[in-house]
């Protein structure tokens, strides 16, 4: 069921130029409301992994933009999603973030009981409604789901949305990259997630995470501090992985200029090439042997050769396939955003592989991460700063004439380009321009 479209008095087309965006897209609550209806109300949003709901009755509560939805595995093994709202007085049905409801979801107010697919099972004191309405019309609205390799996506636009496959396009290959790294072909979501938030617009994260110029400045202090500790170590291999992550921010700009950035229709992007990986299990002999046993040597080599740093799946998730970490973005208000980090276990891989992924997620998604805490500060300063002074346009023209390759599926540019931001706003304009 499509969300209500606020009768927009603003004209989204007037807010985006080919080389810049109007600052109000970060600061105006009316823009945010329209984004929730037209972008988060239409795009496929990653919600949960199949392994989070192992048994019938298991449920998780997730957000689609500002909408709270409940995903429940039904008694036939299918996962269904419904809005977290009782169809009677409107109370939310679930208060916990996850749990088990084998008998359905019961509203705490008057005890109305709903099936995983939202069907109304019973109403206490139903005789009071005799002749008033048909129970089959009083279910909770369902949300359309589709799954790719165990990853469950939802779409609030229902049947009006194109298939998930069409939305993912070339970016399917990053999800393949994550799953194919498993020596059993299976991945499992870890039992714990890690959250942080910041007081600024949701788009800041999308526009920062593939930005390769900022680390040398925003994260300069982390580089200096990690170096000061590294210098005191007798052996380089004694360096803790998180310090390696801090040091990586000090790579010269030319390193990133030589890497590729891939942008694809829908606002998606990733950085690829010879990025290398400090946390990757690639170098672990036991892991590599297990992968060769499963895939054979040729396929295993191809799997390990994929070197993608971070895929941004616009507008709501971030995929670090090589470190088995996926992050979901939850926009709360125009000036408040939550990020939720999930770690995946490559089933059959040595324990060390999962430990590496856990350390990576801690470094990448903790509010206390020496790297992330600087990013959050910058996001918040941009919110404050964009309200100041007469300059109204935010340029994103870096690398505008440096495209390396164009195909129907993607465009390849240097990784220093802001092509990914231009690509995000092309998608933004497309979503926002349709009433």
């Amino acid at each position: 069921m499509a969300l209500h479209d606020p009768q927009a008095t603003l004209d989204p087309a007037a807010l985006v130029r080919s080389d810049a965006v109007h600052r109000s897209v970060y600061t105006d609550p009316a823009v945010f409301d329209l984004e929730m209806a037209r972008i988060f109300g239409r795009a496929w949003l990653y919600l949960a992994h199949d392994s989070e709901l192992p048994a019938p009755g298991d449920y998780v509560v997730r957000h689609m933009g500002t909408q709270s939805v409940i995903l429940t595995r039904d008694k036939d093994g299918a996962v269904k999603a419904i809005h977290n709202r009782c169809s009677h007085r409107g109370a939310t049905l679930c208060a916990f973030r996850k749990g088990s409801a084998p008998h359905g979801h019961q509203c705490p107010y008057h005890g109305w009981m709903f099936e995983p697919d939202g069907a109304l099972r019973f109403i206490p004191w139903h005789q009071g409604y005799e002749g008033q309405f048909d129970k089959s019309e009083m279910g909770v609205a369902q949300v359309r789901l589709e799954t790719y390799r165990g990853f469950i996506f939802g779409n609030l636009a229902g049947e009006a949305a194109p298939p998930l496959d069409h939305f993912l396009g070339h970016m399917r290959s990053t999800i393949d990259d994550l799953v194919d790294r498993s020596p059993t072909g299976r991945v499992e979501c870890g039992p714990y997630v890690l959250r942080h938030y910041y007081r600024a617009n949701w788009k800041m994260t999308f526009e920062n995470l593939n930005d390769t110029i900022h680390p040398g400045f925003a994260h300069a202090a982390s580089v200096v501090s990690a170096k000061s500790v590294a210098q005191t170590l007798e052996r380089r291999e004694d360096l803790a992985p998180t310090l390696g992550m801090m040091l990586a921010n000090g790579k010269p700009v030319q390193f990133f200029q030589d890497l590729d950035m891939i942008t694809a229709p829908g606002g998606h992007s990733y950085i690829g090439g010879h990025m290398g990986a400090d946390y990757s299990p690639d170098t672990q002999d036991a892991y590599t042997r297990a992968l060769i046993d499963f895939h054979g040597p040729d396929k295993a080599r191809d799997v390990l050769r994929v070197d993608r740093h971070l895929m941004l799946l616009y507008p709501s998730s971030f995929w670090h396939a090589r470190y088995q970490t996926v992050r979901i973005l939850r926009p709360v208000r125009h000036d408040l955003t939550e990020m939720i980090g999930f770690v995946f276990r490559l089933v059959g891989a040595p324990d060390e592989t999962y430990r590496n992924a856990v350390e990576y997620c801690t470094g990448a998604n903790s509010a206390a991460s020496p790297v992330i805490s600087d990013d959050l500060e910058i996001y918040e300063r941009c919110l404050l700063g964009n309200a100041q002074g007469p300059r109204e346009w935010v340029p994103f023209s870096r690398g505008a004439h440096e495209d390396r390759e164009r195909t129907n599926a993607f465009t390849r540019t240097p990784a220093t380009s802001e092509a990914y931001i231009r690509n995000q706003f092309a998608a933004w304009s497309d979503y926002m321009g349709r009433a």
Partner: protein, 160 residues
């Protein structure tokens, strides 16, 4: 035999050194193989089970506190001030080690826009696993179980 006074002095000193930003002395209270851990969930029994807010070894403790003194560490510009309140210290022996638990609250202030959000409260149960080395009682592990461990946090620069 546990010396309650000795344990209590160590737990209080550890908090005081953080508040005074005497980080080298703070780290010197810990063993070489120490762990400083703030789990992302109260049910975690080991930091390898899932991601954490802090999961530091001595290297990361050094890098983190070195960073706090750097004027270009934007997440800590200006650096936060903290005040720890330490209460209810109980020392006991577990598996041959001395374990001290305490209730702690850390009040933090960082000058940003001058209003309420600049001041934050963190709190919960702190567990110090202690070990005697060369006659000196040191911290082998400090675990901080925030009462809201599963919640989303905004940037944290000061160790809890």
């Amino acid at each position: 035999m546990i010396d309650d006074g000795e344990v209590s002095r160590l737990v209080h000193l550890e908090a005081r050194l953080l508040d005074d930003q005497r980080f080298d002395e703070w780290i010197a209270l810990f063993t070489e193989d120490c762990r400083y851990w703030v789990p992302g969930h109260p049910e975690m029994s080991d930091p390898t089970e899932g991601p954490s807010h802090f999961h530091d070894d001595r290297q990361l403790m050094r890098a983190r506190t070195h960073r706090l003194a750097n004027p270009r560490a934007f997440g800590a510009e200006p650096a936060p001030r903290t005040a720890h309140v330490v209460s209810g210290i109980l020392a006991e022996e577990r598996d041959g080690a001395v374990v001290a638990t305490s209730s702690q609250i850390m009040l933090e202030w960082r000058d940003r826009d001058g209003f309420e959000a600049d001041k934050r409260l963190f709190g919960g149960r702190v567990t110090h696993r202690l070990r005697r080395e060369d006659g000196v009682l040191r911290i082998a592990e400090k675990r901080v179980d925030l009462i809201d461990a599963e919640a989303a946090f905004n940037a944290m620069a000061a160790p809890l």
